[in-house]
């Protein structure tokens, strides 16, 4: 049973302390970046995580890949709790769980050739031996759509889209089972975004990879994800099948978020379908009591301030943390007729 689950996050919490402390210091501020997030990623599937800046989605990416340590909670990879691994087991975990970053350029060593960038981790982890390293690397380059003859080139000789392909090849070089992609296409031009998304989907099909795909661009996530989790101020407010979340959002925040996306169709302009959220996202240092969205929610009542709504299934197969979930289906983001 657990074999069908690639990755599981259980009640992950990450609190950062900011400000000064110590002698004569003011009280420290605690930023509740991620506050009790759980999710399950089935093998071979894609979980999309969406939310606006400051919602904690990038912190979550770094938590599940153990680039930072959680304040509490645990991460389970292929049935193994990886939260407290160290030494050899940690290295093995790192091999199986790879991350792709937003800015492909700053995540590649400018002094290493593409051959080294992709080949070194393979050799270090004992996946290839020297004699067949080059052949393996070039095979991988071909697979991600890079010209194998560019084996000896350096990152600066490539365009943004190609660099992201290098980043993907490097992640794949260790034969991972799960890839966490943190805003992998948001630095790329529209036409290149589509190329990279297609590549990721093909790789998933061919290699049976599981993805955690983090993005602020709702249409990108809609396209690639099977499951979507919507985050707001460090918490998941809604999670479900992508089709359901997008066509029938249950949480008011999800609905507002979807309605704010400009539609590439001028004939839909001014149809009054947009929900205007007022104000800004509150500070994660001092989040609102109860439901964290209540300060901007048009449905909020005293109940919302007093009681935090649990993340639970409603009747329609949606999992939502709201006292007053949305009823009416909306149609948003349809292609122009």
């Amino acid at each position: 049973m657990s074999n069908d689950i690639a990755l599981q996050a259980i009640d992950l919490v990450k609190h950062f302390s900011t400000g000064s402390s110590g002698v004569l210091g003011r009280a420290t501020n605690i930023v509740q970046a991620v506050d009790g997030v759980s999710f399950t990623l089935p093998r071979g599937k894609t979980l999309g995580i969406v939310g606006e800046s400051g919602c904690g989605k990038s912190t979550l990416a770094r938590l599940v890949t153990r680039l930072i340590e959680p304040s509490s909670g645990s991460v389970v990879l292929d049935g193994v709790d990886i939260t407290n691994l160290s030494g050899k087991a940690l290295r093995e975990m790192r091999r199986k769980l790879q991350i792709i970053f937003q800015d492909p350029y700053s995540s590649l060593n400018p002094r290493h050739s593409i051959g080294q960038i992709i080949g070194d981790p393979m050799r270090i982890q004992g996946i290839v031996t020297r004699p067949n390293e080059k052949a393996e690397v070039q095979d991988l380059m071909q697979r991600v759509g890079l010209n194998p003859e560019h084996y000896n080139r350096y990152p600066h000789e490539f365009s943004g889209g190609q660099r992201q392909r290098i980043g993907i090849a490097r992640a794949l070089s260790l034969q991972p089972s799960v890839i966490v992609a943190d805003e992998p296409v948001s630095a790329l031009d529209v036409s290149i975004q589509a190329q990279i998304l297609n590549l990721l989907e093909n790789l998933q099909k061919d290699l049976g990879l599981s993805y955690v795909f983090i993005a602020h661009d709702l249409s990108v996530v809609r396209h690639i994800a099977d499951q979507v989790a919507v985050m707001y101020l460090g918490k998941i407010v809604e999670v479900g099948a992508a089709v359901t979340v997008y066509s029938n959002p249950a949480h008011p925040y999800t609905k507002a978020l979807l309605s704010a996306v400009p539609v590439a169709n001028p004939s839909m302009r001014g149809l009054g379908r947009r929900i205007r959220l007022v104000g800004d996202v509150p500070s994660p240092i001092d989040p609102p009591s109860g439901c964290r969205f209540r300060t901007r929610c048009w449905k909020a009542t005293d109940l919302c301030a007093a009681v935090e709504p649990p993340l639970q299934a409603d009747g329609a197969g949606r999992v939502v943390a709201c006292h007053f979930p949305e009823e009416t289906p909306v149609t948003i983001g349809q292609s122009p007729v």
């Binding site: 002698v23 004569l24 210091g25 003011r26």
Partner: protein
């Protein structure tokens, strides 16, 4: 902001205490016997022993340190009976080499160092910032290249070399100025000026080099900022943009480094003072090293430390005033 300043000052005090402890212990651990150095050639064991007791070197190290610390606030008495003498607060000890209270010695030499530092500092800020600004405003042209050559020379050539070269060419060869002999500005101002002009210039020109680079790069970086572009897009004049947008940004790191450099200078411009025979704290320190005159060394080190710590606090406060992102959260 007030709390911030109070906290910085508190930490500065703690830091100074730590510095005094380590300085004292470090010098006390040197393998020379301070008491044996008090009487030179005609030392006899009983004189050494008597001096040891008189200066307190018979006590344990910690006790000595405590007496030193107490002396700073309460002054210190040495010896008993007819041979007794005292150094008033703030006492930094007694120099057996020069037979004088360290505080008195510092009071004599510090003004020289201060005149040298203040004059050189003002000159070098003037030279550094203006050449840097000229280079930035003429990026890629001959002015910029000239500034860059000046910077490389200034950064790479040592003071003692340039100092001696200047001294040789101006004083000995060209005879434009007489050989430096220091007089207080209150006694003989023209002589003071004639003596100080060369050390000021040498110190200023050489130190200005890094400020030229700092100013040039800071301004060029600022000119690429979006907010400078918005300033231009507002229709502001070039002068206002340079002053309120470009220089404002470039000045922040300059103030920081200048504060620390100035404080370092006040601790004694050892090489410059030696080359130009200025009777300042730096020259005195050198002499103290040669003579193993520990109390003088401890004293000058403490004075230098005080200036650096004070400068740090002032720089932090200035930083808050210069950059609102530090001041208001």
């Amino acid at each position: 902001m007030f709390l911030f300043i109070v906290r910085r000052i508190f930490f500065a005090m703690v830091l100074l205490l730590a510095v005094s402890f380590f300085t004292y212990m470090l010098f006390a651990m040197l393998p020379s016997d301070p008491a044996a150095l008090t009487c030179g050639k005609n030392c006899k064991p009983d004189v050494i022993a008597a001096n040891r007791i008189r200066l307190g070197y018979d006590k344990s190290l910690l006790e000595q340190y405590w007496l030193f610390l107490k002396g700073i606030f309460a002054g210190r008495d040495y010896g008993t009976g007819a041979a007794a003498f005292s150094c008033g607060a703030p006492s930094l000890g007694y120099s057996f080499g020069q037979h004088e209270c360290v505080t008195t010695l510092i009071a004599q030499t510090f003004p020289v160092t201060a005149y040298l530092s203040i004059g050189a500092f003002m000159l070098w800020m003037l030279i550094g910032i203006s050449t840097g600004a000229i280079a930035a405003l003429n990026k890629g042209k001959w002015q910029d290249r000239a500034a860059s050559i000046f910077t490389s020379i200034g950064v790479s050539l040592p003071t003692f070399y340039i100092g001696l070269l200047v001294l040789f060419s101006v004083v000995i060869w060209l005879r434009i100025l007489p050989f430096p002999s220091y007089e207080s500005p209150f006694d003989d101002f023209p002589v003071f000026l004639r003596t100080m002009i060369l050390p000021w210039l040498v110190l200023a020109v050489l130190s200005a080099a890094s400020y030229t680079r700092l100013t040039r790069n800071g301004m060029l970086e600022a000119m690429n900022e979006d907010f400078v572009r918005l300033g231009v897009a507002k229709g502001l004049t070039r002068r206002i943009i340079l002053r309120r947008y470009v220089m404002r940004q470039a000045l922040v790191p300059i103030v920081t480094i200048a504060g620390l450099d100035f404080a370092g200078l006040l601790g004694g411009a050892i090489i410059t003072e030696s080359v130009f025979s200025l009777p300042g704290m730096g020259k005195m320190s050198i002499r103290a090293v040669v003579e193993s005159d520990l109390p003088v060394l401890v004293g000058t080190t403490m004075v230098a430390a005080v200036f650096i710590v004070i400068a740090n606090v002032l720089v932090d406060i200035a930083y808050g005033y210069l950059d609102p992102r530090v001041r208001v959260k």
